[in-house]
Amino acid sequence: MKYLGLLCMAAAVVAGGFLLAGEWEMRVKMLGIFRQMAVYLKARILYSNETLPEALKEIGSRFSDGNSGMAAEAGLFFLRVEKRMEEEAGKPFAEIWKEEMEKFPDDLPLRKQDLEALQALGENLGYADKKTQERTILFYLEQADDSLAFLKKEMESRTKLYRSLGMAAGLFILVLFA
């Protein structure tokens, strides 16, 4: 019975390490999705001259249908913003964007700085001319690229570290208490 308990504890610690590594990978994936959506948004605004609701609906549908689970959250966010823009036409866009960001699930694998960059994007979209839209989106893309570059650089070593630490801690428990 004692060995079974120890085995469970070790397994839990190992799983914790893998979970941390998975979270890191998911953050990279989510940031990548938001980045890709911003690229499409730029194209829809500059090339197709679409209004924000039109662009958000099109991109949101594409990304919510093509992904599942947490990865679909970004697409669903665009769709929620678009729906509220239709329903509450008189409300400022930045307010709707911010309020819908607050509805992200608690376990969304994005850090504070990722969310701040996303919020800043919403604060400046729709304002002034097309060049300003382009610059706003390009600024967001730059920030996302910087974050992704850092995350990707660190990802291999971090995920290895988390998994190794998890396994080492599991072995340590086994050796210590067996």
Partner: protein, 296 residues
């Protein structure tokens, strides 16, 4: 005042919102409403915040998407309604780039009056052939409404003959009132719409791509537009166009139109007036400017 309060006050001021033809909003002045029965001054005092709010709503928080329209002094919103703007023009290289500090709005409500072309159409036909027609009308006298219904009648067909393939170049999205690529107004089953496209370019595109029997265009008059209309006629396509003017004599003062009239390019001229109400037919004239609608 924000736009939501304005909407509520407007509802209180007018018993039937469907009666509204035009709303004029000027910063610092009371809002004026024009209905079929005349002008009505409301108690709503407009300010720049209200004008900004209305423009935000009209542009769906996407002013950038209306850059071209705003530089021309108006934007067309969902439903084909036209919002005229006035304010401080920002000029660059001799051209208006945008308009800021908006001080006035003129919201013109688009109306679809099905059947209003029924009495006009027989004069525009030669057997089953539609004749090249020019609708002449001052602003706000129902020229686009009549054009829309003529397109619908031609597309559906009727006792006068089978329906025709009609191509519409709708530069300002007022004829078809397209939203998301779908025409909000009924233009008939044989109508193709090129939405938001400059007229001269759009006419040539439609001639090449859709092989129309009738090509319809609103507010023609530019050099390129006249050339495109002539090209269309030479291709065997019939033209249905509108132009601003009080009467036939009015357009004859403009060299390009006088030339067209002298060349007998159009076979029919329909003159409209806003008095006593929009859509009043002043006269229908043949190629020699002989009045036709009083012969019967």
């Amino acid at each position: 005042m924000n736009a939501e309060i304005f909407e509520q006050m407007l509802r209180n001021a007018v018993s039937d919102m469907k009666m509204i033809r035009e709303i004029r909003i000027r910063a610092g002045k009371t809002v004026m409403i024009y209905t079929d029965t005349g002008e009505k001054e409301t108690e709503i005092l407009a300010d720049q915040e209200l004008i900004r709010g209305i423009i935000e709503i009209c542009s769906r928080h996407s002013l950038y998407a209306y850059e071209r329209e705003i530089s021309q002094g108006f934007l067309t919103i969902r439903g084909g309604h036209r919002v005229g703007i006035a304010g401080k023009a920002v000029v660059e290289d001799g051209h208006v780039r945008t308009v800021r500090d908006l001080s006035s709005l003129n919201i013109r409500v688009a109306h679809e009056v099905k059947g209003c072309a029924k009495n006009v159409l027989p004069y525009l036909m030669d057997g089953e052939t539609f004749l090249d027609t020019l609708l002449i009308s001052p602003p706000g006298a129902g020229k686009t409404t009549l054009l829309r219904d003529l397109i619908r009648e031609l597309s559906y067909g009727g006792t006068w003959g089978a329906g025709k393939n009609v191509s519409v170049v709708d530069e300002r999205s007022e004829i078809a009132a397209c939203f998301g690529g779908i025409a909000q107004c009924d233009l008939g089953p044989r109508t193709d719409v090129m939405d938001g496209c400059p007229k001269s370019e759009g006419m040539l595109m439609m001639l090449r791509s859709m092989a129309p029997q009738v090509l319809a265009v609103d507010e023609a008059g530019g050099e390129g537009e006249i050339l495109a209309m002539k090209y269309g006629m030479n291709c065997g396509c019939r033209i249905l166009a509108t132009v601003h003017g009080a009467d036939v004599g009015d357009i004859m003062k403009r060299p390009a139109w006088r030339e067209l009239a002298e060349e007998k390019v159009f076979s029919r001229y329909v003159v409209l007036s806003g008095v006593p109400g929009p859509g009043t037919i002043v006269g229908i004239y043949d190629v020699n400017f002989q009045r036709m609608d009083k012969r019967n």
